[in-house]
Amino acid sequence: MKPAAAPPPTPTAGWELTRYRPIRALLARRSLNWAAMTAALGGLLLAILAGLLGTAAGSANFGIVFVWIVWWGLLMTLLLPLGGRLWCLVCPIPAAGEWLQRGALVDPPSAGPTPLLQIAPARSAAAAGGGMGRSWPRRWQGIWLQNAGFLAVALFSTVILSRPAVTGGLLLAFLLAALVLAAIFEHRSFCRYVCPVGGFIGLYALISPLELRVRDPLVCQGHRTKDCALGSAAGYGCPWLLTPWSLERNAACGLCGECFRTCPKENVAVRLRWPGRDLLVASAWRLDEAYKACIMLSSAAIYPLVLLGPWGRLKAWANLETLSGFAAYAAAFLLLSLGLLPGLHLALAAVVRRAAGLAGVSLGRLFVALAYPLIPLGLAAWVAFTLAFVFANAAYALPVLSDPFGWGWDLFGTAGVAWRPLLPGWAPRLQALVLLLGLVGSIVAADGVLRRLGDGRRSLAGLAAAALLLTAETIGFLWLYLGALA
């Protein structure tokens, strides 16, 4: 007897943006996406060139200022909290590979996508363009590679942030890796399984108020050709290797809108919704995402300690000034991210299991589930760090616009603008506000998760235990930004 098909995802409530013609018109124009991506690619290439050829003084180099202050600041304070994977819509890193795969820059040729570069026949139905089109190996699926990539970048972040040549080299490596992987694997395999930034953007997109989903899953059930995934003459299939008709979470959806353009049933919608819904999709709770939540939370504590703290020796260790110092710093970083913090949350899971009467749920399952409430607080902690960093250094953007390489140019007359911090004195208040919002969001998420596990039953004891740990963590972050560190 065939197993019953999984029920279609329930349409989510929310305010549909695509009910408005101007928004539908915007989304329907692939050329706008292409234009934004191309502009971003120009910026990326300038950042790479400035990094490799320009001044070694980071604050006077376009590569450092516009990548780690301007782009990072916009990403963490606006794009990610409000739009989830909105950055992925215009990210230039996969651009060249995608154009090669499709054999076109913007719209598909009228007869269907024509491969510009085809080394071997495509192996999967989703690969309708050029390249070898291989499926990503199953054992490397998930975000474990992205977790490792993020940890590697994080460990060397002091070196990366302070040396333009290293930033330039890293960006070039990402660009080339994306191109090579696009030639071998189908669609956006690099973005989906390798990109270290995509790993945490996808995780935090789970609490974004923006979502792209089908309007009515029953319409999809009756639709055989599944153009949204496989493509058609009207457009490309989903480059994120998703099946839009069963999409339940934001984690892997890059908001490219390809399904919207390709669907002949006009059954794809973009909505604003209450943040955090995706955290409660229990069927999607996974260990790799749980670890990602722990890694991001611990990194959000280590970065301000090292980069914003008063200890010159710690900065020197992180800056690779001595091998033994860096080894000690790296060991502490990895121990906290992969051992101590997950261990603390495993202990919480054990306490909650008893307190909430969840003996029927395995400890491992509970550990994974209770990692998801870390996501609102984790994002809040990263926003708090970014505010400190960006407010203090945003003023470098104006001089660097006029003199991107630090060679004494003055293209727009702003090269002589003196440094001063932005809105001095406001950063601590905003940091506290953001952290407190994150705390509330995390406690609400913990309640939702515990109710999912308890068949809708609320356990006050379990919730109180989770709230206690989340509050302690929040107070720790408040101490980092408002208290004396020594």
Partner: protein, 158 residues
Amino acid sequence: MSRLRLAVLVGVAMLGAAILALPWPGSPPVPGEREVVVRASQYAYAPGVIRVGRMEQVTLVLEAEDMTHGLYVDGYGAKTEAVPGRPGRLRFVADRVGKFPLRCSTVCGPLHPFMLGELIVEPNRPLWRAVALALLLAAGTVAFLAAEPARRAGEGEA
């Protein structure tokens, strides 16, 4: 929304307003002057954390040990610069409490943006207010959620 939840909301709002608006107990203003010598080298200040009392007249004497360094006090806008052998001075009255980063305002190398110290003007009421708010919001959120029983799975879920 049930009456109980509304009561929780109102209670949290009132307590929160009290935490923010009411004066906190703390040490009285400290009249007098304080002079602190701050030694700067790539990429830290010594001492890294400076504690002063509210209303103290603070003089920071910046001594650069290896190259030109600046010192900018966030929140007060005071700044100075020093080259080796020629210290810089800045003076201000610590009339605002809390934590204020000390930053290097003269590019001094790759880690210049991360050359930071801390000025703590006591009592550090902003920290205590924030901690109190965290405790209040945590308790308030749990109380708010507990004030209405959860529906069973599948019942009325969106």
